[in-house]
Amino acid sequence: MSNWIEVGQLEEIPQQGSRIVKTKDYDIAVFRTINDEVFAIKDACPHKQGQLSQGIVHGKKVTCPLHNWTISLESGEALGPDEGCTNVFVAKVENGLVSIELV
């Protein structure tokens, strides 16, 4: 069952940055890349749960603020020799409005 949630306007998320969507159980980080692509992943680094929303966004990746793991925004997987994965949510932008699909 799909469950699309409107999050807000694309403009509200800085380019190369992210904003947090809070849910009852966890936070979701919604990222906007330099090319205005939007990705959503659980705001918890596979390493030690660092808040990825607070990291530096480069390409389609984010570098965690706590110990510098780099996580793919597309797959939620840690890149390079690090191993681990965090949940990914489908995100879309329509007419400047960002939505994510909760499952």
Binding site: I5, V7, G8, E12, I13, P14, Q15, Q16, G17, R19, I20, V21, K22, T23, K24, D27, V30, T33, I34, N35, K48, Q49, G50, Q51, Q54, G55, I56, V57, H58, G59, T63, P65, L66, H67, N68, G80, P81, L102
Partner: protein, 811 residues
């Protein structure tokens, strides 16, 4: 259609170039590789440990056959190329395989030299170059007793040591009187010989081989003086010759090697060459570090990036014989214009010789203890002026003020010794990663093991482990690039920012051909700093290129909450301030209130959304950000000084406050701390600060370049001045020069060591015009910079999105 790249030689240099190319232009070419050895690419260097029984062939494979498949590289193994047709642009193998090329890379390495004495072609006479030779030697150890190694150089001694490990009796024959005479002077050569003799090796020094005797298989060696020895195996290790036969046949210009220019092109611009087969600016190389540098530049040009030149290498050597520590680099003999520093302790087997020319280190030989090798090598390659280091140079970097870390003897360290305290990585983990993953560089070791990836204090140790595991120095072209997105080092980038007037990160990336679209965290933070430091009037800050602490103006904690540390000018506070802090702590239920190491009060465990509210309350009590989270001016520690203390000579507290008012809210390459002590008892610890003042009866001593922290460094005394006004001016000038010169993330201590104390003295003390110029620039920049970031966010509406979530879903 993709262009075709053909590589001849499936060895260390050729495949390294391919790897570098795949990194920067993965889809540019259809790649075909010819290799006449029947394997994937292996780490030739580690043949010595294989021979000694410390490693297996599997351990030393760098790229297995599946790697070629995964990267769509067509590999012809066991195929020797016999012809290059430059008109038709094809290469042909001995078995008739023909491949077309648009670009060709020749990486055929070298061939061992076999002395053409009578009998050199007998069975049992071999070289030491490839897996086959090692197999032959290992077979021999099973059937025979006595091996003779001709050549007492690096390779010969490693071969001799390997054979000895298998219980063979080994004689080393050497033409001259000093072993490894290309790397050792006579003293260290003698020490080496003595240690090897103690291990059971026999030597024939000054002996010229005249004939190899035997009927079919070798049975003995005869020398020019008529004497002879019996032997079952002869290993010739007397040198290598660049393998240029194929290139010569194709009409490419060759001298000793295939002649290439600084972009590694041969005289035929479609044909590149890297590795031992190459002659560059008159030099040929027989160690991998320079070959890897060539590979990198070559890949860059193959990818048509057109940046980066290969300008030659300084090389260093280590002998991979367990229990023998030997390091040699550069010109260690010297000449009439050079001077020597020597330290020798025969009974403990230690010897160190440094050769200095024009105040630069140009050569080094270390025997017995090589842990300083990496540092000397670094000094040699950077060409740093060693004037300021002279009196300490011979004792090594660890005598420059390293406390605690380092100093361990790598060989003596057990595998379970913890090397990286931050990430809990032991020596054994690092060694294993290096050998099983085929790592060569510090960056790779960091990526795979995390060792030295955090605070970096164990970097030196990790480098040493890398060296002792691999046997040589692999790292570092002369100036390290700023990050992986560019080949340009920090200095060049900063110069370009100034000269081309680049006022944004984007402009830098475009103008300097960055290899990534929007950079990486390393260059983003550095460039954001550089453009603002050069163009403080015009450059815009890019918050997305700042680390979270500087974006949120608070320090992120392990649980995602933040800390708040308000400024307390010169370490002084008031009842009102204390009340405000107490109120805030109560109101927002802050659990921990801590007296920080910087003479102020910290509030810990604050949720991000609450930060602006706390700041507002503190602002209302007249307090501003303490920048405890930034690459910025942090604190000015003071003591009570003349006001109260019976020893105080000046009003250190008031001066501290003036310094803090002058410097607060300034961004720096790294954190920056100050202190003022009222007398030489130095209660404010001014001599481990970036800028420290020690008050004396006659005025003020100014100290620079100290820090506590990971690697303690006491300051250098910059000068004495008489008035507070001078203290402020010198301080401003020093800071501004540091801000405009240092690399991002380089604190004053390593910066002073890198550029040399004299240069700073020249600018800040001796040259009044320069001092005034820098001090003035600092004041100008401060006019723009000195606003309280907390107030801007608490009530000024700046960056509101930073402190609020975009949406809250309640179900």
């Amino acid at each position: 259609m993709k262009e075709k790249l053909v590589v001849i030689g499936n060895g260390m240099a050729g495949i390294r170039a391919v790897e570098e190319l795949l990194k920067i232009a993965p889809d540019m070419y259809d790649i075909t590789v010819f290799g006449d050895e029947p394997y994937g690419n292996y780490n030739r260097i580690l043949l010595s440990p294989v021979l000694a029984g410390d490693k297996t062939i599997d351990d030393i494979m760098l790229n297995t056959l599946s790697w070629y498949e995964d990267n769509n590289i067509k590999l012809h193994v066991g195929q020797r190329v016999s012809e290059i047709n430059r008109i038709e642009r094809t290469v042909t193998s001995e078995e008739g395989i023909v491949e077309e090329y648009d670009r060709l890379l020749i990486a055929t390495g070298s061939t061992p030299f076999i002395i053409p004495v009578p009998g050199h072609d007998k069975e049992g006479v071999i070289a030491f170059r490839d897996i086959r030779d090692v197999d032959t030697m290992l077979d021999a150890t099973k059937q025979y007793q006595h091996a003779t190694i001709i050549g007492g150089g690096l390779l010969g001694l490693e071969a001799a040591n390997g054979m000895m490990q298998h219980g063979m009796k080994v004689t080393v024959v050497h033409l001259v009187d000093t072993l490894m005479e290309r790397q050792m002077d006579t003293v260290s050569g003698k020490m080496l010989k003595k240690s090897l003799e103690e291990k059971g090796m026999d030597f024939r020094m000054g002996a010229q081989t005249a004939e190899i005797t035997g009927n079919g298989r070798v049975t003995g060696v005869k020398f020019a003086d008529g004497s002879s020895i019996a032997t079952d195996l002869v290993v010739m290790a007397v040198g290598i010759r660049p393998n240029i036969e194929l290139a010569q046949k194709a009409g490419l210009h060759c001298e000793r090697g295939i002649v290439v220019n600084d972009t590694l092109q041969t005289y035929d611009p479609r044909i590149y060459s890297v590795g031992e087969c190459v002659q560059h600016r008159g030099n040929t190389y027989g160690l991998v570090a320079p070959l890897f540098e060539m590979a990198k530049v070559c890949a860059n040009h193959l990818a048509q990036m057109g940046i980066g030149l290969y300008e030659g290498s300084v090389t260093s050597t280590k002998l991979k014989v367990t229990g023998i520590d030997l390091f040699s680099a550069g010109d260690f003999i010297g000449d009439d214009d050079s001077e020597e520093m020597v330290m020798q302790d025969a009974s403990s087997g230690l010897y160190k010789k440094l050769v200095i020319k024009n105040n630069k280190l140009v050569g080094a030989v270390l025997y017995g203890d090589t842990k300083e090798g990496a540092w000397y090598f670094q000094l040699m390659r950077s060409g740093q002026d060693i004037c300021d280091l002279r009196d300490k140079l011979l004792f090594g970097e660890s005598h420059l003020g390293d406390s605690g870390h380092g100093g361990d003897h790598i060989a003596d360290m057990s595998d379970d010794t913890e090397v990286c305290g931050c990430n809990g990585v032991c020596k054994g983990d690092i060694v294993k990663a290096i050998t099983t993953e085929g790592l060569f560089t510090l960056d790779e070791v960091r990526a795979h093991t995390k060792a030295s990836a955090s605070c970096g204090s164990c970097t030196g140790l990790v480098e040493q482990i890398l060296e002792s595991t691999l046997g040589s120095d692999y790292e570092t072209p002369e100036a390290k690039p700023l990050c992986k997105c560019t080949d340009m080092p920090h200095e060049e980038v900063r110069v370009a920012i100034r000269e081309r007037k680049l006022t944004s990160i984007n402009a830098v990336r475009r103008s300097l051909h960055w290899q990534t679209e929007d950079g990486c965290p390393a260059c983003r933070m550095a460039l954001n700093y550089y453009v603002q430091s050069a163009w403080h009037n015009e450059a815009q800050d890019d918050p997305q290129s700042r680390f979270i602490n500087e974006r949120a103006h608070a320090n992120i904690q392990k649980d995602g909450r933040y800390s708040v540390i308000p400024r307390m000018w010169g370490g002084m506070t008031t009842p009102d301030e204390l009340r405000a802090i107490a109120n805030v702590a109560e109101k927002y239920e802050i659990k921990d209130v801590h007296l920080t190491g910087g003479q102020r009060i910290g509030l810990y465990g604050v949720d991000k959304e609450v930060l602006p509210k706390i700041w507002q309350d503190l602002n209302n009590a007249g307090m501003v950000s303490g920048h405890a989270y930034g690459k910025a001016m942090r604190t000015v520690k003071t003591c009570v000084g003349k006001q109260w203390c019976r020893f105080g000579t000046q009003d250190s507290t008031a001066l501290g406050i003036k310094l803090e008012e002058l410097t607060w809210a300034s961004w720096m390459p790294h954190k920056f701390k100050l202190a003022v002590s009222g007398c030489p008892r130095n209660c404010a610890e001014a001599t481990i600060k970036d800028f420290g003042v020690v008050c004396v009866d006659s005025g003020y001593e100014l100290h620079i370049g100290g820090n506590g922290g990971i690697k303690v460094r006491a300051t250098d005394l910059l000068c004495n001045v008489n008035t507070e006004a001078e203290v402020l001016e010198y301080c401003a000038a020093f800071i501004q020069f540091y801000r405009e010169d240092a690399h991002y993330l380089e604190r004053t201590a390593p910066w002073v060591e890198r550029i040399g104390f004299s240069r700073i003295e020249e600018i800040v003390v001796k040259d009044e015009a320069k001092r005034k110029h820098y001090a003035q620039r600092f004041l100008e920049a401060q006019k723009i910079s000195q606003v309280d970031p907390w107030r801007e966010r608490a009530t000024g509406g700046v960056a509101a999105h930073e402190f609020a979530s975009i949406k809250v879903i309640n179900n």
